[in-house]
């Protein structure tokens, strides 16, 4: 097994030697680190089987490097993994996608049909109240006077206003699927239902059974129903929209993989609605999650663990099980402390070297892009008539982008490789961005900005969004409100967001009055006189 690792290292190196010597330098680093692990495992091979972790770590890194190299560079022969292999994460992602799409649709349609039924009931009820006496006992009804007809207009307009208001508040595309039912909406629906049912009950018992002739009274009853519905709509606005506008809690959101933290002010919301607000802000504020940046610390941790192995020389059954575990862990910690640890030194020099390399490549990239942009110029309208440029010379933005792209492609790819962003940008997306920048007269610096700094998640393609895979993990019920000190987790596949809520302090503001005439000044002198 030991020889396997060194063999794969050689094949990787030989394949790469076709590239520039910079690649050779990087693969040499790889080779060096792998040989280091190999030598360490060699030491332990004499006693026990070599540890599995460094080997697995190496092959996954190798696989990543080969997978990402899909444009602009010659590919090499692959040893272990193939380019089309799926990682465990991808499989989980696909199955979750399938489950979620089916489950969510069912729930959404169910709630949609409920809402439609309730809406129809609410709108048709006043009309039914007005129409039923004419249908059931038309001969007994008193003639409707002018006041009564005036009330018809009032009913009509109030129903119109109610229709518009309900359309404005509720007829919006749902922006999220929450795990539990939205408590306020459910309460309001129940209230409306109870209300309408009680009106129908009263109508059925007192008016239909007794066949009341006073039509004006019936019309006024219908008007009172519509008024009450408008007031319930006002209640809905206050509960659903206005109540959470005043900020009451300050939440601190930390990403678990790299510790990026942001703070938001939220109103009084339930935990699931707060989670929704936080996720929407996450897509805008947090830089995109880049797993390639975390491999360095993981490899350091793996090296730590791989360095020590504890063996029990007294044989089994000598100590109690717990005593054995304790002594083992203590021995490991003591050995780790005693080992002259130069990891910090390595880290320091590695980071300095990386910083220098990034800056060098950035300088080359900036120069290449600036040069490329000088080649393309917007054609003026009169140029075509004056100089009569051949139609072959005139290009649309996409063609212009494709024409100047090759001159900057190499330096851009190298820069992305060094900052480990190469899997976030495909060649197609870069060309599209270039065409966009050319069309909008942007400078080379504006074009480069999206590659120099990692932007928010929404800036990248849809496959990075992972918008359907959030899980809310909370000890308190998710429909309960936010409280001081509430902690919950928003888990995505690769990382999780840890959210802590704190109440915004009650601020006591006091006033101090300053009389404008009280601003008076004196000179402070220290003069010296000679006598």
């Amino acid at each position: 097994m030991d020889t396997e690792s060194t063999y794969s290292g050689y094949s990787y190196y030989s394949g790469r030697s076709r590239g520039s010597h910079r690649h050779g330098e990087r693969s040499r680093d790889h080779h060096k680190s792998r040989s280091k692990d190999g030598s360490r495992s060699e030491k332990s091979v004499t006693i026990n089987a070599p540890p599995a972790e460094p080997l697995l770590g190496d092959s996954s890194v190798l696989g990543e490097e080969v997978q990402d190299d899909n444009w602009g560079e010659t590919t090499t022969a692959v040893t272990g993994t193939s380019e089309h292999s799926l990682s465990q994460e991808d499989i989980v992602r696909i199955t979750k996608d399938l489950e979620d799409s089916v489950g969510l649709d069912c729930r959404r349609y169910f709630s949609l049909t409920l809402a439609v039924v309730l809406g129809l009931l609410v709108f048709l009820t006043p009309l039914a109240f007005l129409a039923l006496p004419h249908l059931l006992w038309p001969d007994k009804l008193l003639v409707c006077g002018t006041a009564c007809e005036g009330l018809f207009i009032s009913v009509a307009f109030k129903l119109l206003i109610l229709l518009l208001a309900v359309w404005a508040l509720f007829f919006r595309a749902p922006r999220a699927g929450l795990p539990r039912v939205f408590v306020f909406r459910a309460l309001l629906a129940v209230l409306v239902l109870l209300f309408v049912v009680s009106y129908w009950l009263f109508y059925g018992v007192r008016i239909m059974d007794s066949q009341d002739e006073n039509y004006q009274g019936i019309v006024q009853y219908a008007v009172s129903l519509v008024d009450a519905l408008l007031f319930i709509h006002y209640l809905a606005i206050v509960l659903l929209e206005l109540r959470q506008l005043q900020p009451a809690f300050s939440v601190c959101v930390t990403r678990s993989t790299d510790g990026e933290t942001r703070h938001y002010n939220l109103g009084q919301l339930s935990i699931q609605r707060a989670a929704l607000a936080i996720i929407e802000n996450y897509y805008r504020d947090f830089s995109v999650h880049n797993p390639a940046l975390l491999t360095a610390s993981k490899s350091r941790a793996a090296k730590h663990l791989a360095g020590l192995k504890v063996y029990n020389v007294d044989g089994p059954g000598n100590n109690a099980a717990t005593g054995l575990a304790h002594s083992q862990s203590r021995a490991m910690i003591a050995a780790a402390a005693r080992r002259r640890d130069t990891n910090h030194n390595e880290l320091y020099y590695e980071e300095a070297e990386h910083e220098r390399r990034v800056r060098k490549r950035k300088a080359r990239l900036v120069v290449a892009v600036e040069e490329a942009f000088t080649h393309v110029k917007r054609m003026q309208e009169d140029e075509q008539q004056q100089q009569k440029k051949a139609p072959g010379d005139v290009m649309d933005p996409r063609e212009a982008a494709q024409a100047i792209f090759p001159s900057m492609a190499r330096s851009l790819q190298k820069y992305l490789r060094t900052t480990r962003q190469q899997h976030c940008h495909s060649m197609e997306s870069i060309q599209q961005h270039l065409a966009f920048c050319i069309t909008n007269n942007m400078t080379p610096k504006a074009f480069l900005e999206s590659y120099l700094t990692p932007g928010p998640t929404l800036q990248y393609g849809r496959e990075r969004w992972l918008a359907r895979q959030w899980t809310l993990v909370s000890e308190a019920s998710v429909t309960s409100g936010l409280k001081e000190g509430a902690i919950f987790l928003l888990k995505c596949i690769d990382f999780s967001l840890v959210v802590t809520a704190k109440r915004i302090p009650y601020i006591q503001l006091s006033e101090e009055f300053i009389d404008p005439k009280s601003h008076k000044f004196v000179l402070r002198l220290q003069s010296e006189t000679s006598v």
Binding site: R524, L525, Q526, S527, E528, T529, S530, V531
Partner: protein
């Protein structure tokens, strides 16, 4: 040299007699003063108590009448010819020192080293 408001000021003083020197039509004493109740006491580099608004000697010209008489830089002037100098404005102090009809001024000055000398001699 600190004072307690309402209590008489006590200090160990040295009597210094300066003869004015005639220079042209001016009579000079050969030193400079600073301080006064209309001045900022915090900027006085010689006072111990930074709220002391007394008159201090800020400079002594070398080989002048004041130096010959034994005046030193940093001395606080308590009396001039019997007139009090602890509660006067800067200009009043200047006037008391530069009266044209006086040839001799007798100062009472105090400094820190005087008190220490008295203490040592008493021990």
């Amino acid at each position: 040299m600190s004072f307690i408001p309402g209590q008489p000021v006590t200090a160990v003083v040295q009597r210094i007699e300066i003869r004015k020197l005639r220079q042209g039509e001016h009579l000079i004493l050969g030193f400079s003063i600073g301080g006064g109740i209309d001045q900022d006491p915090g900027q006085n580099p010689f006072s111990e108590d930074k709220s002391d608004k007394g008159i201090y000697v800020t400079r002594v010209t070398p080989e002048g009448p004041a130096e010959v008489a034994g005046l030193m830089m940093g001395d606080k002037v308590m009396q001039v010819n019997g007139w009090d100098m602890t509660m006067v404005t800067h200009d009043q102090a200047r006037k008391r020192l530069t009266k044209k009809n006086e040839d001799v001024v007798r100062l009472l000055v105090t400094r820190k080293s005087l008190e220490q000398a008295v203490k040592h001699s008493m021990m």
